[in-house]
Symmetry: C2
Subunit: 157 residues, 2 copies
DNA sequence: CAACCTGAGTAAAGTTGCTTGACTCGTCTG
DNA sequence: CAGACGAGTCAAGCAACTTTACTCAGGTTG
C-alpha cells in the first residue's frame, strides 16, 4: 500500500460513490453517443419497471420512489418523445396502463449491450474472479443494509 | 447462487448504486441523529476541502465541481449557521479565506466516528478480508475509469 | 339506491439547488 | 495610468421535483 495513493485511505462510502459515479457517467456517455441524448438515468429505470407488461403511473411512482405527480410528468415526457403509450387498463376505473413502444425496446437493447460491454471491460481490468468477488461483496453489503425489500434507487444527494 | 436472488443477476452499476445509496443514507441518518440535521452531504465534502487551512470560495467551487456562485451560496449557508468564517486572505485582492469554526471541527469529529463505526459494522458482515478486497477492487475500478486526477464527487443524477 | 368513500389521475403553485449572464471591485502589468 | 484579470456578488432562469387541492370512476354500505 503506497502512502501516496489517496484511494487506499479513502472512506468506503467515498469509494462506492466514486465507483458508482464513474461507471454511471461512462454508461450515460456511451448511450448518448448512440443517439439517446434525450434520456436521463431515471428514464432507464422507468423502462425497467415498465418492460414486462407495463404499469400505471401510480405504480411507477412507487417503484421510482417519487410522487405520482412526478411520475405523471416523466410519463408525459416519454410519451411526447414516442417511448411510451397509454392504453386502456383491464382493471377499469381511471387507470391507464403505461406501456413501452418499439422505440423504447430498441433503446433497452442498446442500453443492455452498452452495459454488458462496460462490465466486460471492467472485468478485464479486475480479472474474472475479482469482478465476481466484487459483485458478491456488494450484494452482501446491500442485503445487510436493506430490509428484504430493495429500496428504490434515487438520486443520491 | 440462488435463482431467486435478484442481486446476483443485477448489473454492476446497479449494485454500486444501491450500495452507495444505502451506506450514504445510513451515514446521514446517524449523523442527523447526533443533531446535525442542517447539514447535507455536500457540506461534509466542503468541510473536507476546508479542513486544513481553508480555501477561497472559488477554490472550493473547483473542488466541488460547481460554479463559484453555487459555492458562494454554500459558504453563506454555512456561515449563517456558524460552521465557517470568512477571514482576510494573505494573498490580498478581493480574496477571502473561508475557514472552519470550532463547531465545524466538532462535526468533523462526530462524522469521522460515525463513518468509522459504520465501516467497522460492514467489516463484521463481510469479514476483514472481504472488506479489504472490496476496497481494493473499488480502488482499482476507480483508477481504471478516471484519469490520474480524481473527479469531484457530484450528485449522480 | 343514494350517499359515501377510496384510489387514480391531473392542475397549479411553491421549493431547492443549482446555472447563466452581467456586473463590481481590488490588484497587477505594460 | 489604461486596461486586463481574477475574486466575488447580484439577479434572473431553469429543472426536477414537492405540496396542496382538486376531478372523476367505481365499489361499499346503511
Amino acid at each position: 500500500m503506497s502512502d501516496e495513493d489517496p484511494l487506499e485511505h479513502a472512506e468506503l462510502t467515498f469509494l462506492l460513490g466514486m465507483a458508482f459515479q464513474l461507471t454511471l457517467t461512462e454508461f450515460v456517455r456511451r448511450v448518448e453517443a448512440e443517439g439517446y441524448g434525450d434520456l436521463r438515468p431515471v428514464h432507464g429505470f422507468a423502462f425497467q419497471v415498465l418492460r414486462h407488461g407495463g404499469a400505471t403511473s401510480t405504480e411507477l411512482a412507487a417503484r421510482l420512489g417519487v410522487t405520482k405527480q412526478a411520475a405523471g410528468q416523466i410519463v408525459a415526457y416519454l410519451e411526447e418523445r414516442g417511448y411510451v403509450r397509454r392504453v386502456e387498463h383491464a382493471g377499469g376505473g381511471r387507470r391507464r396502463l403505461v406501456v413501452l413502444t418499439d422505440r423504447a425496446h430498441e433503446h433497452l437493447a442498446v442500453a443492455g449491450r452498452t452495459m454488458h460491454g462496460l462490465e466486460r471491460q471492467i472485468g478485464e481490468e479486475l480479472g474474472e474472479e475479482g469482478l465476481a468477488s466484487l459483485r458478491g461483496q456488494l450484494a452482501e453489503l446491500v442485503r445487510g443494509l436493506s430490509g428484504p425489500e430493495l429500496p428504490p434507487l434515487r438520486p443520491v444527494w
